[in-house]
């Protein structure tokens, strides 16, 4: 029965294959093209005369003596101080992930175990907070931060990103903790554990799958953020994404444009690698709220 149901006609298989190839081209090709082009000079990657120059490296050969060059990478990392930006991104990402998981697991655990009505209102409030466009929050931060003189530094941005991230983390971990059987920690409570001890010794060892998923989303938010970092950090403390935007803003000499291209590759490569490893958790997280529906 089952085999017949899932047997596809030849035409469907072919059609399907073509469609998938077409879709993959659309979704992957732009990245491959950028990766390829980042090893060329600007006259090739943005060649008005002949697009095949980008493939053959015609001008790259003339300018550098080889068909590929890492000039843009070397220059953007050292002369353009992209190393500083990536260091900042690392600091911000690691801090945001660890702090928001710490706060989020505590809060979500309490929300999932309390039977009072206010948990519902807290979750609804979190949902409303989640919907707020980040830029409207930033417009509220700037003035007080200037007055308190805490604008431009990394710790402020980290705390802001943690807070912005909390609603989603709470919801994700809340639905995860709901699937952890209540009896597990209840029996610990009966044996005389405090709630915190039950959390520490009973829940923590079993919560890692949910935490990895939540951590992944926190990481993506912190790593990818442009709105908050561009407006709350000063130039020295820029993370990678606002730094790339800054490269674009200064097109005094042709080289800078290629700096942006190579930086885009430098910034996306680690992200893609992490997602490649944690793909399953990412997908389970995205669907957590939706599929029950």
């Amino acid at each position: 029965m089952d085999t017949k149901l899932n047997k596809y006609s030849k035409r469907l298989i072919i059609f399907n294959g073509i469609f998938i190839l077409f879709w993959l081209t659309i979704s992957i090709f732009p990245f491959l093209w950028t990766l390829w082009g980042s090893f060329k000079v600007k006259a090739d990657f943005f060649s008005r005369a002949e697009w095949t120059y980008a493939l053959t490296g015609f001008n790259t050969l003339i300018e550098t003596g080889a068909t590929t060059t890492v000039k843009a990478y070397v220059e953007s990392w050292f002369e353009g101080e992209f190393w500083r930006a990536s260091l900042n991104t690392m600091i911000v990402t690691v801090s945001v992930v660890s702090i928001s998981l710490f706060l989020g697991t505590l809060g979500a655990y309490a929300l999932s175990r309390s039977t009072y009505k206010y948990t519902f209102y807290i979750l609804i409030a979190a949902l409303i907070f989640r919907a707020m466009p980040h830029i409207t929050l930033v417009s509220g931060y700037l003035f007080p931060f200037f007055q308190l003189n805490i604008w431009g530094i990394l710790p402020t941005t980290i705390i802001v990103l943690v807070a912005i991230n909390q609603p989603f983390t709470l919801w994700l971990l809340y639905s995860f903790f709901k699937t952890v059987p209540k009896e597990l920690d209840e029996s610990a409570l009966i044996d005389g554990c405090s709630y915190f001890q039950a959390f520490r010794y009973i829940i923590m060892p079993v919560m890692w799958p949910g935490v990895v998923t939540a951590g992944l989303f926190s990481m993506m938010l912190a790593y990818n953020d442009f709105t908050v970092t561009a407006l709350l950090l000063n130039q020295q403390n820029y993370t990678m994404v606002p730094k790339i935007n800054a490269f674009l803003g200064t097109i005094e000499h042709g080289g800078n444009y290629m700096w942006a291209v190579s930086s885009v590759v430098s910034a996306t490569a680690p992200l893609f690698m992490i997602i490649w490893f944690f793909q399953r958790q990412l997908i389970s997280g995205l669907t957590a709220g939706a599929v029950k529906g």
């Binding site: 009072y116 830029i135 929050l137 930033v138 003035f143 669907t287």
Partner: protein, 342 residues
């Protein structure tokens, strides 16, 4: 869980959310009621051999002093909301009185900054969402038929546009579509028109931005649909098969109805997320012809020397009102879900 324990568990996260999400909204509102202090002018008499002239000049010292005393500026009530850059009541009233036809009135209104941005934001939202849902569903259906071995790689490839931040995603596309990039240059050769480019007309730019939006959002719809497809019950499908339903009929009458709730979920999230569209405008350097509400706020805050807190606050409040409209169905849905759970 007793109230006291609950309180201590929720305190850190609650504090973070109240301080950095709740308060900024209040602060934004407070800012929107104020306007930057005006420069204090003074009259200076300049005498030269040809006579004396009185010039008006900015009194830098006095202005600076006033700014120091009152950094937020002076109280303006809802003045900022109704000024030319926001709701523009006066301008609309005038346009209503002077314009001879409806289309002329429409032209004037849609050239006011706020309405221009609102028009783009809404167009973007509503043009992107339906194709995203349809395309996401088709991709999910077709990935679902593949064998397990290649599925992992294909799912990874499919979600890439969603993983990268919108700024990088739009840059990557922009570099190809740009008149000197691979696609842009090819199109020019194809149509034999060296002036044809993305920036040539505002319509083309809008279409490009919308295509980018579809590219960026489809993976999300795909992932959700793909997961939902795994939950479709097999029994009705088998029954339909025995009754002689074709593959198309099985999808149309069993799978799609099963996925309706999921589709509404995707639609609402998509509308809400796209309402904040802003980074692609920067990535595509489309500021000239396409402004969104978020972009207006960014523009007010970008200049470090002269930030327009009042204007940004007012636009923020108006954006939040817009979000509230889109959020209401989501809230009602969540509310119902909770009711049934209890």
């Amino acid at each position: 869980m007793p109230h006291k324990t609950f309180f201590w568990f929720i305190l850190p996260t609650g504090l973070a959310m109240i301080l950095f999400i709740g308060l900024p909204i209040v602060s934004s509102f407070f800012q929107s009621l104020h306007i930057e202090t005006e420069q204090i002018l003074m009259e200076v008499e300049n005498c030269d051999p040809f006579g004396c002239k009185t010039n008006v000049r900015v009194d830098v010292e006095a202005t600076e002093k006033l700014r120091q005393e009152n950094p937020l500026g002076r109280f303006n009530g809802f003045g900022t909301y109704t000024d030319r850059n926001h709701l523009a009541f006066d301008e609309i009233g005038e346009a209503w009185n002077t314009s001879s036809s409806m289309s002329e009135f429409k032209d004037i209104v849609l050239n006011l900054p706020f309405y221009k941005a609102l028009l783009f934001t809404l167009t973007f939202c509503f043009a992107v969402t339906p194709p995203v849902i349809i395309l996401g569903f088709i991709v999910a259906l077709s990935v679902n038929t593949l064998s397990k071995i290649i599925k992992g790689f294909i799912v990874f490839g499919t979600i890439l546009p969603m993983i990268v931040t919108p700024l990088i995603g739009s840059l990557v596309l922009f570099w190809m579509i740009d008149s000197q990039g691979i696609i842009g240059a090819s199109i020019q050769i194809l149509f034999d028109d060296p002036n044809l480019s993305l920036k040539a007309s505002s319509n083309l730019t809008w279409i490009t931005l919308i295509i980018y939006g579809i590219w960026h959002n489809t993976p999300f719809a795909f992932v959700v649909f793909y997961a939902a497809l795994q939950t479709v019950p097999q029994d009705p499908i088998e029954a339909a098969y025995i009754d002689g339903a074709s593959r198309y009929q099985r999808v149309r009458y069993i799978v799609i109805p099963h996925l309706y709730p999921v589709a509404t979920f995707i639609m609402l999230i998509c509308l809400m997320d796209n309402f904040r569209v802003f980074e692609p405008i920067i990535g595509f350097s489309a500021e000239g012809v396409a402004q969104s509400l978020s972009w207006m706020i960014y523009q007010d805050l970008r200049n470090e020397n002269k930030m327009l807190f009042g204007s940004a606050g007012a636009t923020s409040m108006l954006t939040i009102i817009g979000i509230a409209f889109l959020l209401t169905p989501v809230l009602i849905r969540t509310w119902k879900e909770f009711r049934t759970e209890r």
